[in-house]
Amino acid sequence: MSDPKTTSSGPGRVLVAIYAIFALAAGARAAVQISTRFHEAPLAYSLSALAAAVYVLATVALARGGRTSRRVALASCSLELAGVLVIGTLSLLDPAAFPDETVWSTYGKGYLFIPLVLPVAGLLWLRRTRPRP
């Protein structure tokens, strides 16, 4: 396999596709939750919206792939990893605080744990495609 030059070509294209689906799914879900029943679980739904925004950011940054975009992608993948680990742990310790599912509840169990794997894959991919002097 030839050396990938940008974050959006080769296997990176698949990564961007998965990110885009998550951005779409999380975004649509957050929009519906917030517009129809925000008062029921403000914390969980705000987190859903935050997760969706981070997925959108990561999708666009990985698809663009310039120098600034790589930084944005690094930041959003790191934030995602932190989010899924922190919220995953909190949702196990204090289920009452999370009456409704978020993408990150129980480390993304409702989404086949893809939310846990995706940021790791993103970070590894950014390392693989880093520009060499």
Binding site: S9, G10, R13, V14, A25, A28
Partner: protein, 121 residues
């Protein structure tokens, strides 16, 4: 929404995903078969969406109507987006993109069916 057409779409989508897996493993880039399969899938999804909206408009829709419409519109966007994103990649990873899309479609239809039957939100 829970009839044979939905089941057919799920099965067809999984078959296309399997076909894409084969072409990815064989290091083939996207060809006419991938495009025709995606187009057929999109047409089937449009018919399914039409039936779903007609039933919902007739008063037999799910309680979670907003979520239902959201998923319905979302699932329609996937095949065209996958075709576009896969076509510009002239390598084995083009079909791999289609595979991801064709795995996402059954998941979304399963969610639509859950919403339709009022189980799970």
């Amino acid at each position: 929404m829970t009839g044979p057409l939905a089941t057919g779409v799920i099965v067809a989508s999984l078959v296309i995903a399997a076909f894409c897996l084969v072409t990815t493993v064989m290091k083939k880039s996207m060809n006419m078969f991938h495009l025709v399969a995606l187009a057929a899938l999109e047409i089937a999804l449009l018919v399914l969406a039409g039936i779903g909206i007609a039933q919902a408009a007739g008063g037999n829709g799910p309680a979670e109507l907003a979520t239902f419409i959201g998923y319905l519109v979302g699932v329609l966007l996937i095949p065209p987006a996958a075709a576009f994103w896969g076509l510009i990649e002239r390598s084995r990873w083009g079909p791999a993109v289609i595979m991801v899309a064709c795995l996402a479609v059954p998941v979304m239809i399963a969610r639509l069916q859950q919403i339709w039957q009022g189980t799970g939100v």
